[in-house]
């Protein structure tokens, strides 16, 4: 056995320092876009985020002021509709994958859900356009909500499955051994134990689709006014940002920046809530 020479030792230390530096720079590069986005949005958008922005309808072209209240409310309505369809289907599907079903069917379902997760979101807009918008002859909040729901389902399905599988088998056995039926065991023991994880998955899915623009282009379509019926076109924050950003007016550009800032803040808030919900999870896993 031969020990390294002093020279080799120095060289090894230099290599170590070099690797450490590269890793540090990479880490900075990873988080810098977030800082950049925030910084840029604050510079351009903060000035236009005011009371009017949250309370007024968009102003006509040329008029000063106006806000995006219809788009903010519209986004919430669309998320509500998407959640109404996407949450039950996603959660129950995830529970099925984790608790029932044969190994072979489950691996097929899991694979399909992963494929669905990879489908570009504009595809969902086209699909819903073909299935709903053309059939009922009109853009609508329903169509937009459905498109968002279809994106949410595989996301929620997979996270639900994962957290339900983390629930130790001992709890299932303990409940079944008390003469509690399978279904009640799953709802009252397993899902309750995994509830934080399930809610986290739902919130993250909502945050993800809340910023989607592409699937809403041919479904919710957008609206410069209040939406009075869910079967009518509806405004959404990302859509409004898109419309304003590609417009030729400086005033609209400023509003687009403000909208983007509000949207990012919303997503940020959801993530903070998730962090709070999952605090102390390291100990209990679920």
């Amino acid at each position: 056995m031969r020990f390294e020479t002093a020279h080799q030792h120095t060289w090894r230390k230099i290599k170590s320092a070099l690797a450490c530096t590269i890793a540090f720079v990479s880490a900075i590069l990873v988080i810098s876009p977030l800082g950049l986005v925030f910084f840029y949005l604050l510079i351009h958008g903060a000035g236009s985020v005011n009371w009017d922005f949250f309370t007024k309808l968009p102003a006509p072209v040329g008029a000063v002021g106006g806000g995006m209240v219809n788009a903010i409310v519209g986004s919430l309505e669309l998320l509500g509709l998407a959640g109404l369809i996407g949450i039950p289907v996603g959660v129950l599907g995830g529970v099925y994958l984790a608790e029932y079903g044969s190994a072979r069917i489950n691996s097929v379902l899991r694979f399909l859900a992963d494929v669905l997760n990879g489908i570009p979101s504009i595809t969902w807009g086209m699909v819903v356009y073909g299935l709903v918008v053309l059939r009922f002859k009109g853009f609508s909040a329903y169509a937009g909500g459905l498109a968002l729901a279809l994106i949410m389902i595989p996301l929620i399905l997979r996270t639900t499955e994962e957290v339900v599988l983390l629930v130790p088998n001992g709890y299932r056995e303990a409940a079944l051994a008390l003469g509690v039926s399978r279904w009640k065991t799953i709802v009252h023991i397993v899902m309750k134990t995994a509830s934080k994880g399930i809610i986290t998955g739902i919130l993250l899915a909502l945050a993800r689709v809340g910023g989607e623009t592409a699937p809403l282009l041919f479904t919710a379509f957008g609206n410069r006014f209040w939406n009075h019926s869910l079967s009518q076109p509806i405004a959404a924050l990302p859509l409004q940002i898109f419309t304003y950003a590609i417009s030729p007016y400086d005033d609209w550009h400023r509003q687009a920046w403000a909208g983007a800032l509000v949207l990012v803040m919303g997503v940020f808030c959801v993530n903070v809530i998730v962090r709070i919900l999952t605090r102390g999870r390291a100990a209990s896993v679920v």
């Binding site: 001992g170 299932r172 303990a174 051994a177 003469g179 009252h188 134990t193 209990s284």
Partner: protein, 277 residues
């Protein structure tokens, strides 16, 4: 009344010929006849026949992998949770065939409770909720009844004095031994006829173990208890009958004093004296 519905599986008196035998035969709880259990192609239990006495402690001993756990899980059909299990033979509880197609495993498990090796109070529930969860999820709503049963079960599991002021605290805040007694209280709250225990003390320290053993001794006046144990001394201390399993077969079964002092089988003697296993 708010007690769980047992009409599906009425208690049946033991057959008359058993009672009228010349020697007074102890009333029997389970009659296991030619029971064999397969997991896929692997035979875990091979042609086991034995009667388990009421109001007595029966200990199942044997080296790891001999089918002890499978055997007691077969007594409340918990082994069915493993996919691809197959059963041959019969298990009668008070004369009723547990495996008959008319019997719902949920009802079987209400009559035959179980305590596991690792204490597993539900982490989302308080101490009190943990005890009555079996009743609550079986549709019992009567608050007064639940409170009475809560106290009674905790007293029976010798935990009442330690937790009566902390019923709202999480069940997982208790010590290991207390958690295991909480699990026993939870199993007792649904008033089963039989209590199965799958190595209930193997994760506990000697003092907590002594408490559980004492508890088992007291509980046998009311319940039939079947316990799996790896601990030979424990089997000798707490049980009235001992069954020795080896490689899925029942090698010897009889009163504990006889098994431990004068076993008929060579394998039993070798195992008990620590020559293998």
């Amino acid at each position: 009344m708010t007690t769980p519905d047992r009409s599906v599986l009425e208690r049946v008196e033991p057959p008359a010929e058993l009672a009228s035998a010349e020697e007074p035969v102890p009333a029997c709880s389970f009659q296991v006849n030619n029971l064999s259990i397969w997991y896929g192609d692997k035979r875990a239990i091979d042609d086991v026949t034995l009667d388990i006495a009421s109001n007595a402690v029966t200990a199942i001993i044997g080296p790891s992998g001999c089918g002890k756990s499978t055997f007691i899980r077969a007594l409340n059909r918990m082994h069915e949770l493993v996919p691809k299990t197959r059963v041959e033979g019969t298990v009668l509880l008070q004369g009723e065939d547990l495996y008959s197609s008319a019997v719902d495993p949920t009802i079987v498990r209400r009559r035959v409770g179980m305590v596991f090796q690792k204490s597993n109070p539900f982490p989302t529930m308080s101490i009190g909720e943990n005890v009555i969860v079996g009743l609550r999820l079986n549709g019992v709503r009567d608050r007064k009844f639940l409170n009475e049963r809560l106290e009674k079960s905790l007293r029976m599991s010798a935990l009442w004095d330690e937790v009566k002021d902390d019923l709202h605290k999480p069940g997982t805040s208790l010590s290991g031994g207390q958690q295991q007694r909480l699990c026993i209280a939870r199993a007792l709250a649904v008033e089963p006829e039989v209590l199965l225990m799958d190595e209930p003390c193997s994760a506990l320290d000697p003092i907590a173990t002594a408490k559980i053993e004492e508890l088992i001794y007291e509980l046998k006046t009311k319940y039939t208890i079947v316990t799996v144990t790896h601990n030979m001394q424990q089997a000798g201390r707490i049980s009235d009958y001992t069954a020795f399993f080896y490689l899925g077969r029942l090698i010897e079964f009889g009163p504990t004093t006889k098994i431990f002092t004068n076993p008929s089988e060579r394998q039993t003697e070798d195992y008990i004296t620590g020559r293998f296993g």
